[in-house]
């Protein structure tokens, strides 16, 4: 159970993650209200979401299909029969006073997620409805309730406590994110709340056979905070045990400003959820035909795409992996390779494009880069119109304006100079203007070659064809 490289001060952290994922269905799990984010308060609320007397839930079959997709993508067991249960508790954002969820017969069980070669097991994934939102800043002595989110379909993905470090937890989370976005079942946006993560953290001695008491950490809303929260909690528990105290089984909130976890007020009486099968819904038998149908119509998973990219486009492991981290990038790549060299495109996407996306913290889909304008750039590099260096300039311009390479090159006069005669005369004039360096070079200072190249580039505003210039200078200097 212990992983030596993950011990902290001699203790083994043990982590399980519960990830709630909002599904990308058109309507909510049990009501026909639109499943949308960011609308005016209480405008996406159906009679059913209000929990009015007399209303009844009806299952959205698309939510079920999306759950099955997740099960297939994680090699999990899909339930032959799934049943919905009621989880009873009182909270102002829970209109019925119970949440419809799945306890004993979830849609998916026993899955596996590969995280950099280590297999993290998924205990189960189940469908359940989201609650509404309560907010506390509008009034001094009152809180307000918005039920737009009430009833939104969630897939709760529960891992086994197989994770052994905070960074492993982040990688697991990234992997889950990749799977759900590839499957198009969620947009996995942690800051908007369409993907939420709670961490169950405990520590134990490496040679112990039993897990320690675990604490549940809530209110983590970014990948970065997952790592910080877990690290803090592990340290807190170590200090606790080393001071001779015990770790309480409790729920703690992560405070990202203070970077600490705090115990939630413990209630006098424990909350007993009194689960029982929801009598307003009926069991769903999932046939192998349905599963096969969904499997046949599923988009490629990341691993499959990587393999295919390596084979078809002759990419290496690294290139395929990086291109496939996000589905939209992989799709972008495939689109551009219809007209461009795969290796060249891969190099530019992995290098320059990704750098721009990271620097500006936006996604490819939200940028002005399109397969068309990117392809135009690749074409101009390929046919020698511009050099690699100039291409970077052009790319910046494409990034800012969305215009295509042809237009930009023309308007800025960036065409590469490849005319041998012209280049030769420029090269000759550089050599003529720097006799000292020429002497030094001929005397053995090879490094000065770069100086001459640099001078030619300066004269030509970088537009000289590098290959030609190298050949010409070599020729001129050897003579």
């Amino acid at each position: 159970m212990a992983q030596n490289d993950t011990l902290v001060k001699g203790w083994q952290p043990v982590i399980g993650l519960e990830v709630h994922v909002q599904l990308l269905t058109n309507t909510k799990l049990f009501s026909p209200a639109r499943n949308k984010f960011g609308e005016d308060a209480n405008t996406l609320v159906d009679l059913i979401d209000m929990g009015l007397p007399g209303v009844l839930p009806v299952l959205n079959e698309e939510a079920m299909r999306q759950g099955i997709k997740f099960g297939l993508a994680t090699s999990a067991k899909i339930a032959k029969t799934m049943i919905f249960d009621r989880k009873n508790y009182f909270y102002p954002d829970l209109p019925k006073g119970y949440q419809i969820t799945q306890l004993h017969f979830p849609i998916v069980k026993d899955g596996i997620v590969d995280v950099d070669g280590k297999k993290i097991r998924i205990h189960q994934a189940h469908l359940e409805e989201d609650a509404g939102k309560s907010m506390h800043d509008q009034y001094d002595s009152k809180s307000v309730i918005d039920l737009n989110r009430s009833g939104v379909p969630l897939l709760e993905i529960v891992s086994e406590p197989d994770i052994r470090s905070a960074s492993e937890a982040v990688n697991y989370l990234k992997k889950i994110h990749q799977i759900i976005t590839y499957l198009d079942i969620s947009d996995g946006n942690m800051s908007q709340g369409s993907m939420r993560c709670d961490a169950n953290v405990s520590i134990m001695r490496p040679d112990s056979k039993e897990f320690g008491t675990r604490a549940e950490i809530k209110n983590i809303n970014s990948f970065k905070f997952v790592e910080k929260a877990i690290n803090f909690e592990v340290k807190r528990q170590i200090k606790c045990l080393e001071d001779g105290e015990t770790v309480e089984q409790e729920t703690r909130l992560y405070d990202s400003i203070k970077d600490e976890t705090r115990s939630m007020r413990t209630k006098e009486f424990a909350n007993d959820y009194r689960y029982f099968p929801c009598p307003d819904l009926v069991p769903i038998n999932i046939s192998s035909e349905l599963i096969k149908d969904i499997s046949n119509n599923m988009d490629e998973l990341p691993e499959e795409k990587e393999q295919r990219f390596k084979k078809v486009y002759r990419l290496d492991d690294y290139e395929a992996k990086v291109l496939c981290v996000e589905k939209q990038t992989a799709n972008f790549f495939e689109e551009v390779t219809k007209n461009c060299d795969p290796k060249l495109s891969a190099k530019w996407i992995i290098g320059e494009i990704n750098a721009l996306l990271n620097k500006n913290d936006i996604s490819l889909g939200d940028s002005k880069i399109t397969p068309e304008n990117f392809s135009s750039l690749m074409a101009k590099i390929n046919d020698g119109t511009i050099s690699g260096k100039i291409a970077k300039e052009v790319l910046e311009e494409i990034w800012n304006t969305g215009s295509n390479a042809e237009k930009i090159i023309k308007s800025k006069g960036l065409e590469q100079i490849s005319d041998e005669t012209e280049l030769e005369s420029i090269a000759q004039s550089v050599l003529d203007n720097n006799p000292g360096q020429v002497e030094a070079y001929k005397a053995g200072k090879d490094k000065l070659f770069g100086f001459f190249v640099g001078q030619v580039m300066k004269e030509t505003q970088g537009k000289a064809n590098p290959k030609s210039i190298n050949e010409i200078l070599k020729r001129l200097l050897s003579g």
Binding site: L47, P53, G54, L56, V58, P95, G97, R274, F276, P279
Partner: protein, 475 residues
């Protein structure tokens, strides 16, 4: 006044819908039995006018031009729906229940909402926030419950049809105590959309009328396959009214061995014997069956019903609709005060029982066990229906009893449902019809059929009512 006549009066244009409604409203307003919670005179007159003006459209509908009263458990759009509770005493639903919608489309005109036991919990209509209902057969007597108001409404000749709901006998028992006909259909035949939930896996809406004919026409209107209710099943394509005339001979009718051992009053047993003879006279064979598991139904019911209701009633928290206490220091207080103020004693008791039987540590001992008893009862019925077509038994243990009845047995009221509960547990259809007058009070007989055999039940009841006069008795 019976339904067939009322409908015929409209169809033959001898009495307009408006006149019928005005007559009925007069009776509603002069009612002293506390049958109604709210009367909707303006809406009723407006609808009646609409029906009269669209005679051609409505004349062939099952309920054309006939006034109706709905149990106040059915949501009626923008019209107060209380469920007999303080919690909802001013509640106006923004939508119609399917039952009300279906009846509206079938040509009936809703006059008023009838009084009922609070949240359908009770067997005497004494738990209503709006006061008890009196039985038309005796003001000091209960009409039964929880659909006491709807049953009394028919017995008092105010309307000829009314709707009720039956979870443990709440249509059949008041029908028996009031001397009228009332039916609980197969679970899932009638949509529960808009019907305020008590025990979701047993609640079922059904018709009241003086006779099988009225019940058949009303059931034709009420029943439909509703996609908004996941537990609603596809309906057979049957017109219950038409099938009343089918000739069904030589049925095998099961009668329970040692029925006297269940504590049934001798008046009821005497009527029962007489009706057995009538059935035989109609050409059917009586066959003795064993049903010793009958009494365990009560134990199972009083676990399952409170359990489901404790969950169903959690939505009444004072946050979004219904009553809210003015004493609200904080959220916890809001809940506690709202729910103690809004619910009556019987409802609180059942919520507590339900909460307990679902609790950690008690779920297996109570809830799971009760669901197993339920399976046993369903299996037993299945076994019985291999040999017989119908089961005939009394509806209740007692005739109409005194209000505020004292009993040495604290569970007496619950045991009243002994004979009706098994059909609810198994989801089977059952009908209660008047089968005698003893001590000047009605007695009731009950037929239980196999799944979706409403046509059979109504047909046999109709045949009985063709050769007897019990259904014509009035207080």
């Amino acid at each position: 006044m019976n339904f067939k006549t009322q409908r015929e009066n409209f169809r033959s244009k001898s009495i307009s819908a408006k006149e019928a409604v005005q007559e009925t409203i007069k009776k509603v307003k002069t009612d002293k039995l506390n049958i109604f919670i709210n009367c909707f005179e303006r809406e009723a007159l407006s609808k009646a006018e609409y029906i009269d003006n669209n005679f051609a459209k409505f004349k062939d509908q099952p309920l054309s031009g006939v006034p109706i009263a709905h149990k106040d458990i059915f949501c009626t759009k923008d019209l107060i729906t209380t469920c007999g509770s303080k919690m909802l005493k001013d509640f106006k639903p923004p939508y119609d229940s399917t039952v009300v919608d279906n009846c509206n489309n079938s040509g009936s005109i809703m006059i008023a909402k009838t009084n009922m036991d609070e949240f359908a919990m009770g067997s005497s209509n004494e738990t209503s926030f709006f006061g008890p209902v009196s039985n038309p057969w005796g003001e000091n007597l209960v009409p039964g419950g929880s659909s006491g108001g709807s049953a009394a409404c028919i017995a008092a000749d105010i309307t000829s049809i009314s709707t009720g709901t039956d979870t443990g006998g709440s249509i059949r028992q008041p029908a028996a105590l009031c001397g009228i006909t009332g039916m609980k259909p197969t679970y899932g035949l009638v949509s529960r959309w808009g019907m305020i939930a008590f025990c979701s896996s047993m609640d079922q809406a059904g018709p009241f009328s003086k006779d099988a004919f009225g019940c058949a026409a009303l059931l034709d209107a009420m029943a439909s396959h509703d996609l908004k209710d996941s537990t609603c099943s596809k309906r057979k394509n049957i017109c219950y009214e038409k099938s009343l005339n089918d000739n069904l001979d030589n049925l095998k009718i099961g009668v329970i061995k040692n029925i006297e051992g269940f504590g049934i009053h001798e008046n009821i047993l005497n009527s029962y014997e007489t009706s057995k003879t009538v059935l035989q006279g109609l050409g059917h064979e009586l066959k003795e069956i064993d049903f010793s598991e009958l009494s365990s139904g009560i134990c199972s019911y009083y676990v399952i019903a409170p359990a489901e209701c404790s969950s169903n009633l959690s939505r009444f928290d004072g946050v979004k609709f219904g009553h809210r206490s003015t004493k609200q220091k904080d959220i916890s207080d809001l809940y506690m005060q709202t729910r103690s103020e809004g619910f009556g004693d019987e409802v609180k008791k059942r919520i507590l029982i339900g909460t307990h039987v679902l609790s950690a540590g008690f779920y297996d001992a109570y809830y799971l066990k009760a669901q197993k008893v339920r399976r046993i009862i369903k299996n037993k019925f299945e076994e019985i229906f291999k040999d017989v077509d119908l089961i005939f038994m009394p509806t209740t243990l007692d005739q109409a009893f005194e209000k505020n009845r004292e009993s040495s047995d604290p569970n007496r009221m619950y045991k009243e449902d002994l004979l009706t509960i098994p059909a609810n547990l198994a989801g089977l259809p059952a009908i209660s019809f008047p089968n005698g007058l003893k001590n000047n009070l009605p007695t009731g007989g009950q037929l239980v059929g196999n799944y979706f055999s409403e046509d059979l039940l109504l047909n046999i009841t109709n045949k009985i009512q063709e050769v007897t006069d019990w259904h014509k008795m009035t207080p």
